[in-house]
Symmetry: C2
Subunit: 227 residues, 2 copies
């Protein structure tokens, strides 16, 4: 479903070049459950942003569902993204002037889905995530972990083919964290391809396939046995 071939990304700060992704090669099949772990600054978010079509590599190919996304114009990339990918940001990226419910419903609104269906879908997800009592709060009226769960709901409302989660439990207590993991994994059971960047070893080790990143490279790629 997703193919990364010799993906490179270099940032320039002042006169210092910084190789953030270094010749990444990666194949991901439809329906896989993959975790990505590694030191702070190793390139995990940058890699996820590439796969999520939020950023462009400097070189290399990124093929999603047979579409050579690196060759597309920005508008076409945005279309592929909206139709296929749900993204949970490390820093949430919610809209301050919209309520929690409106923030989560935004992708559905952009897709022209009826308001009744939007409300119902958001209510269902909020309830699974334990934030049903926060529908009408603004982001500034929410705790860190509540903001995180609104961001998670927004990524799921369109039941995307591919769900990319960047540190989805970083601000959550054990129990809320497990609620989130349950929802993510149930979506994967339904066939959604799930990539989770996490610093939580317990969460990372649940994935069927585990990647380790160090200094912009994939240092390990381990698949669990059948047993």
């Amino acid at each position: 479903l997703i193919n990364l071939n010799e993906i490179n990304k270099c940032y320039q700060v002042g006169d210092q070049p910084l190789q953030v992704l270094n010749n990444i090669k990666l194949n991901i099949d439809s329906g896989e459950y993959i975790s990505i772990m590694g030191p702070s600054g190793s390139g995990k978010s940058t890699l996820l942003n590439m796969i999520g079509l939020l950023d462009r590599p400097d070189s290399g190919q990124l093929i999603i569902d047979d579409i050579p996304t690196h060759a597309l114009e920005e508008e076409q990339r945005a279309k592929v993204r909206r139709n296929n990918i749900g993204f949970i940001f490390q820093n949430f990226q919610l809209i301050p002037r919209l309520t929690a419910e409106e923030n989560a419903a935004l992708p559905m609104m952009l897709a022209g889905i009826d308001i009744k269906i939007r409300k119902q879908r958001v209510a269902e997800l909020f309830s699974q995530l334990g934030i049903e009592q926060r529908l009408h709060h603004l982001p500034k009226q929410l705790s860190g972990g509540q903001l995180q769960r609104v961001a998670i709901a927004r990524a799921m409302v369109m039941s995307p083919k591919i769900l990319l989660a960047d540190e989805p439990t970083g601000n959550l207590d054990q129990r809320s964290g497990w609620d989130v993991i349950d929802v993510l994994e149930s979506l994967n059971t339904e066939g959604i391809t799930l990539l989770v960047v996490t610093h939580d070893l317990q969460l990372g080790q649940r994935a069927a396939r585990q990647l380790a990143m160090v200094d912009g490279k994939i240092s390990e790629d381990c698949t669990k046995g059948e047993g």
Copy 2:
């Protein structure tokens, strides 16, 4: 050093009142190492914001170093805060237009401290936190865990009497997380009063005294034995 007496905080959202802090009573001695744990939404950040003089309770007394802060004007409260308290925010709250170094040095600049001393102090802390190579990056050029460590450095530059940390390791891998804990604990060993809100059980259990919060109340207050 810090006394909270019958502290209450109620928010209003639409027509719904929400009791976020419920009759909090708490005494903290100088030099204590305290962790605060509890479910997402239980009031931990709100409590920390009260103690940090970033927010006002609706009722009750908050006495810091014999100063009845609840009775002071905003300007005087800001003065007490700047002179005594370092705060690590759950969402970092860095200034987008300043570099990492400038962000961390900000409290020293506001105190009129010489630029040479500022640079030296920031360099020392950044090195302890493993981000010495990111002095001149802007916040948008930093990873989640690097942003978190800049926020931590900023809270420490003035060696404040009281250090309040809201989820200081939420975006960090194991090893960076331990570096942060080492720095925080070494400051406590030097006599700084340390309060850490955390979802990380391993971190929370290192504290000499552990508070549990549920629904705006302190449900447990446990001090480790001598043995």
